[in-house]
């Protein structure tokens, strides 16, 4: 319950935050919503000497659309995602996903950027971001770079983000009209991390699957894009045989860890089932 002592910093601007991060290096952690970091500090899994609070940075706030691309500030909270009319209209998968994250209080604080940067395979946004073909804007002292979500997550709690960089926001191309979507999450109870979950976007054309993306949550040491499963359906008619083959390939892509949520076989089977359900729902929601 009691964290180790640390120094607290509340910079007012992004350059100020970057300077603090540069000055304190590995001894500093960025504080966003605090709903992963503070719990780890309370259990003394994490013991940073400096916390740099990002809550005052206006640069990290806001949800807007700029020429077909949605920009969402890294400090946008989960409830802000859920209540955003722009996202409900243009990116309902993100709203559906956020509704399945944690609980109301946690969603008032926990942020999109924090969920992504944490790099926990149990978090839901990594799969949603890959399914949505998102990319992340990283700001360092030397400038800005943009990296795709697919490839950003390299291991448990490990991402491409440099210790001197701050994730400022997320870019999501507005899904084409008629794109189907679903986030199918199996969990023991509200607020739990997934036993298995599958994020799907799918577009039909001329009776065939024109394109799709499948990403899996909590079924390996990091989020998994199930490309073999996508290949089973891309260019094919959407029927049970092809969906079942995609689900089998999603199962094959998993390397789950056994824990209180179940053993490897169970999680792998549930990865297939969540993928099958997500595909069917995405198809029903697509224009076809």
């Amino acid at each position: 319950m009691i964290p180790r002592p640390f120094e607290y910093h509340a910079p007012q601007t992004l350059p100020e935050a970057l300077a603090l991060l540069g000055a304190h290096g590995d001894t500093a952690k960025l504080l966003a919503g605090g709903h992963s970091l503070l719990p780890m500090m309370k259990l003394r899994f994490a013991q940073p000497e400096h916390l740099i609070d990002l809550s005052k940075l206006a640069e990290l706030q806001g949800i807007r659309e700029e020429s077909g691309v949605l920009w969402i500030g890294a400090m946008t909270t989960e409830n802000q995602l859920i209540w955003s009319e722009l996202l409900q209209q243009k990116c309902p998968l993100l709203v559906e996903g956020a509704r399945q994250i944690a609980d109301p209080q946690v969603r008032y604080r926990g942020t999109l950027g924090g969920d992504i940067s944490h790099g926990d395979p149990g978090n839901d946004h990594p799969a949603l971001m890959i399914a949505l073909d998102a990319s992340f804007v990283l700001q360092g002292a030397q400038g800005e770079r943009v990296v795709p979500a697919d490839g950003f997550f390299v291991g448990t709690y490990a991402t491409l983000i440099d210790p001197t960089e701050i994730l400022t926001g997320v870019r999501i191309p507005v899904p084409a009209a008629g794109t189907g979507y679903c986030y199918s999450k199996l969990k023991r109870k509200t607020g739990d991390f997934a036993t298995a979950a599958s994020a799907v976007t799918l577009r039909m054309h001329g009776g065939r699957v024109e394109d799709l993306r499948i990403a899996l949550t909590n079924l390996g040491d990091t989020v998994i894009r199930a490309t073999d499963a996508e290949d089973a359906l891309r260019g094919e008619p959407f029927d049970n045989a092809h969906v079942d083959e995609a689900a089998r390939r999603a199962m094959a892509a998993c390397h789950p860890v056994s824990d209180l949520r179940g053993d490897e076989d169970y999680k792998r089977a549930m990865a297939g089932e969540m993928t099958r359900r997500a595909l069917h729902t995405a198809y029903e929601r697509s224009v076809h």
């Binding site: 180790r4 002592p5 719990p39 609070d53 209080q105 509200t190 607020g191």
Partner: protein, 176 residues
């Protein structure tokens, strides 16, 4: 040792100044320095919601917030719900509908429901259950908490309220 700093915030409408280490959690400041001991601690993993307070118009778990983050904030606890000795509709609802037993989760439940009913003044049962899911209760089984929130929602909307408890109604009829 983190250097101590002074933090000022509004607590149930009154300005308070506290001197804290950066690592001090808001729940501890509220309970130990401000002596507002209604908010409780039921876990150390941010699940139970017994520490829920209203913070700048949000329901937050005060065990997962540093007091230094509360600089300039508007904080409301269960102690601020009743006005001039008059119970808030939610407090009345929890009493009338038997929405508490041991009372340990109740301050957090009330503060979460307080914000919920401002966001959604006429929630369905499913919406109440979904948007109260950050608060655990060991005693009630939640059924009467749902009724208590519905009771308060009706009262706050200016609709007629009556307890769903049949004995109370029979008793009232008998008294006339």
């Amino acid at each position: 040792m983190g250097k101590k700093t002074m933090v000022s915030f509004a607590l149930n409408g009154s300005e308070v100044d506290v001197v804290v280490e950066p690592r001090e959690l808001l729940i501890h400041t509220l309970r130990e320095k401000c002596l507002h001991t209604g908010p409780h601690i039921g876990c150390e993993t941010s699940h139970c919601g017994a520490c829920t307070v209203d913070f700048n118009g949000m329901s937050v778990k005060s065990c997962t917030l540093l007091t230094v983050q509360a600089e300039g904030a508007d904080v409301k606890t269960v102690e601020g719900l009743a006005q001039g000795g008059e119970l808030h509709a939610l407090q009345e609802g929890f009493m009338q509908e038997h929405g508490l037993q041991c009372g340990f989760c109740t301050p957090g439940m009330l503060m979460r429901a307080y914000r919920l009913l401002q966001e959604n003044p006429d929630p369905t049962e499913a919406e109440i259950r979904y948007w109260m899911a950050g608060n655990l209760c060991r005693c009630t089984g939640y059924q009467n908490i749902v009724k208590a929130v519905q009771y308060a929602a009706r009262k706050l909307r200016g609709a007629a309220v009556e307890s769903s408890h049949p004995l109370l109604e029979a008793d009232a009829a008998h008294a006339h």
